[in-house]
Amino acid sequence: MASIPGSARVVVIGAGIVGNGMVYHLARLGWRDIVQIDKGPLPNPGGSTGHASNFIYPVDHSREIASLVRDSVEQYTELGVFTQSGGYEVARTPERMEECRRRMSSAKAWGVPAAIETPEQIAERVPFLDPDVILGGLWSPTVGVVDSLRAGTIMRERAVEMGALTVAANVEVTGLDVEKGRICRVRTAAGDIEVDTVVVACGIWSPMLAEMAGAHIPLMPSVHQMISVGPVPQLAERPGEISFPIVRDMDAFCYERQHGADMEVGSYAHQAILHDPETIPSIDQAKLSPTEMPFTADDFDPQLEQALELMPEVLGAEGAEIRYAINGLLSLTSDGLPVLGETPEVAGLWSAAAVWIKEGPGVARAVAEWMTHGSSEIDVSASDIARFAPHQRTRAHVRPRASEGFIKTYGIVHPGEQWSGDRGVRLPPMYAQQQAAGGSFVEVVGWERPLWYESNAGLLERYGDQVMPREHEWDARWWSPIINAEHLAMRDNAGIIDLTAFTIFDVVGPGAMEAVQSIAVSQCDVGIGRVIYTPVLDATGHFRSDLTMMRLAHDHYRVVTGGSHGGIDVKWFTDHMPADGSAAVVELTSAFTTIGIWGPRSRDILSGLTRADLSNEAFRFGTCATIEFDSIPALASRISYVGELGWELYVPLEQGARLWAMLHEEGRPHGAVSVGNGVYSTTGRIEKGYRAYGPELDGERTIVEAGMQRPRVKVADFVGRDAYVAQREQEPKAVLSTLTVDDHTSASGMKRYMLGGEPIRARDGSELIDGHGHRPYVTSAGSAPSLGRHVLLAYLPPAEAQIGNELTVSYMEELYPVTVGSVDSTSLFDPSNERIKS
């Protein structure tokens, strides 16, 4: 057994592709006294890296994953272990051909080479593929294979050469000690290591390691079956490991990848087979390795037929036998994304888990940068471990979601598609009323939230074509014209919106003002009763969040932020509280429900329920106060995310149902209706050009690019101030702009409506490139029913960001004309904000 030092600057647990990448990138960024531990032998300690298929497809609908993959391929190339083979995603059905066209959109948006090819073209490059079985496919020339074990060895050796790393193989971690909320010790079979920073890069074992410290890394070890068939004469006569493109048979949920004389067939078609981490065999108990479980032939049999159908000559070749077959374990998460970052439960305990070969080195670089600088060049906030609400860290949540996610690996996943497992677990107080009103529920961090209400179907007749009906099933999936009808009713009268999913937390204490002042870009030294909208930046001046705060007392701020990003915000604020303990963060999400009421009649409706003076003079925009509705005290905040006069009402959760009923009863004569999240998150917002964290604002965007700079920068220091001041002095490299679609008519004559993610191109269809070298794409898309237009937001190259500029959007491989309508945060609807301030 290796000898290990008694203390270290950082301990990295795991020597798979991620752990090896971590030690290399930490060393490169200047870390020393790194100790890397693995319970298995090197270079293949027996985790998922050891049995990975090692091929990489660069096209992904997620920008974050596509960026990590691109970075990983660059790293693998530099390490000398990448072999470009090209790859196909072939389609057997018209639906899949359409998905290939949609993947073309993502390829173009992220600048990845790709093309749609005919069966004959495909058979030219893959002569043993039967073209009669397929309709066509997506050609990705930059697909390739890597030697991930070799890559790991090289990275590990480089860290050793830098004098930064001690490697301890065959050493099992037996405990992780925590003192005062911070990791302090790693216990191992070879002795203890005093350390205040630990990275868990243990793949499928990560949940067990995290549990030793009282933290959660929510992932599920899941089976991916694969077999290797050979020797195949057609493959054996070619030199090298791979000489034919890899084929993903998307509709059969399997792939065929040449490996020397063998053809490897892997499947994502079978029913998900999940293993609890505790039931994974030890190295000694396992036949091959702990992650190469006994093959269950019955699960794979249906796949054989389809694979043979596509490649009869190769897979059915004389003498070709199934020489290797495993149920390989890999990590699945509840949303399909990795689990990265410092755990919210234990300071200094970092997760770099649920990472696949395709993004491994990129993830390692990003997490190492994050540990070093507080942020990473590639924004990984969608993979931030702090995104999980407490219920999402439970195994009962991860298990059904991982099971559901497995089949999505090769599935056609609509951008609006909802998960069906572990639903109904966080219910707003007015849930019963929403159900009675035919709420069509979507989920936000577990909260059930109506996207629209079927009970409003009657409005369709009133508004006719103004609701902008969609003819194409894909465009109209997870959507309803009722959303647009609710929008119009809100603009005409009033809408009542459930906002229970908000994350709410207080910053309290004598140092509360200084604390929030140091985090927020906007001025927080304001009078009690003022509402502050503010971006939150990281040290490099990129968005960490945007949210609102209410000053409730001299030593008391209430922060309200989106549910999906709430956990990350809570952690960011907590991490930035003063060291002297003069301010603290207290989460209150489960204490309050929030009900929004907006529209020209909202003042009249509320005035009928409260004796408070709600006149424009008495209750100004941007202020808050506690008012009474019967015996319900409500914190009312006059702001709007939909561009209307109105209030957010914060009331104790247990009184939410009553207030919901009172508002509807009082509002009915005024024409008020329940309005779903379709209006709140999309139509109302996009009509007003409001940016959303995630689509528009993220760790790679600046205030200046987003067109959100105020005339002056506040004097008080805050995180990212220096960078922000510098950004203001420079010309932006991209400009967030609002565009409208001029003509929706496709070649077939059917009108098509973009959903987001599509590339923006010049009128002639040629590529546009911004100052970052990025291509513009639609960050948000949606109906603007009051304008009668379909609106798109996109960061454009500054030269293209001119009002009236005529461009195109590429949707399913057809170009549609668009025109730039706004190049800053000025909205297309009610640009002077008269409604909000009326």
């Binding site: 065999p281 000694d284 036949k287 479980m293 049999d301 054989l304 199934i322």
Partner: protein, 256 residues
């Protein structure tokens, strides 16, 4: 034209550390899955070769739970053309019971017109290691039997069976019908092809329950031997260690 019946037993695929079940009556195969012994794999290969060469047939039979279908299908996938499952709790059957149940199958099939000229079995089971079933089966059917056999050749009305005995090579000429207990090492068992696997899936397995009342195996419980002490010898590091590695390989007989 030789019709061969090859007998299989579903056993845990234990390779590394063995774990016992809670009641210590069997091996816990959770982590390793199930297989047939290497002897039986060789027996299947021989059966398929004989069937191919003589234009006969190879039938696989197993006594075990419904899960043993997996092992029968694996045999079908590499060239057996029929399979028989005697569905029973294998743990309740001792070697005498198994031999009797197999003999009943041979007699039944003969009564229905299929006479197996050659019965192939593994020399001994990988899990219980009884070394009894082939001999008991031969006795029950009043057939000659040879054990420890690596290769077989059919020559007219007899089989030439070769094995490696403690004293040197052993060659037997045995008149058919006969029973042969096979040891691994004489042939390389083939892996299934995809087409073979698909064909195997379509074969209907003849399933029945044995009619006899098993006497049992008399097992009280299984005991794990104490872990053998493992010794690690560092031969050296880097290129300098090459000579020592070569010496070791020569000593082990892997290299010359």
């Amino acid at each position: 034209m030789t019709d061969v019946l090859v007998c299989l037993k579903r056993v845990p695929d234990a390779a590394g550390e063995i774990t016992l079940s809670g009641d210590s009556m069997s091996i816990d195969a959770r982590h390793v899955g199930y297989t047939v012994s290497a002897h039986e794999e060789a027996a299947v290969e021989l059966a398929v070769q004989i069937a191919d060469e003589t234009g006969g047939s190879a039938t696989a039979v197993s006594l075990g739970s419904g899960d043993a279908v997996e092992q029968l299908r694996n045999a079908l996938a590499v060239g057996c053309s029929a399979a028989v499952l005697l569905e029973a709790d294998a743990e309740a059957y001792g070697p005498a019971d198994v031999a009797e149940a197999l003999a009943a199958v041979v007699r039944d099939h003969a009564a229905n017109g299929t006479t197996y000229d050659l019965l192939l079995l593994g020399n001994d089971a990988a899990d219980s290691g009884d070394f009894q079933v082939p001999i008991r089966l031969a006795y029950a059917l009043d057939r000659p039997v040879v054990t420890g056999i690596s290769t077989v050749e059919i020559e007219g009305d007899h089989v030439t069976a070769r094995g490696r005995g403690t004293e040197g090579p052993e060659i037997y000429e045995v008149p058919l019908p006969a029973v042969v207990a096979v040891m691994e090492g004489g042939v390389s068992p083939r892996y299934p092809s995809i087409r073979g696997r698909m064909k195997a899936k379509k074969v209907k397995i003849d399933q029945s329950e044995p009619s006899l009342q098993p006497a049992g195996n008399g097992r009280i419980k299984l005991v794990l031997p104490p872990a053998a002490p493992s010794k690690v010898e560092i031969l050296g590091e880097g290129p300098e260690a090459a000579t020592a590695v070569v010496d070791l390989l020569v000593r082990l007989g892997v290299a010359r």
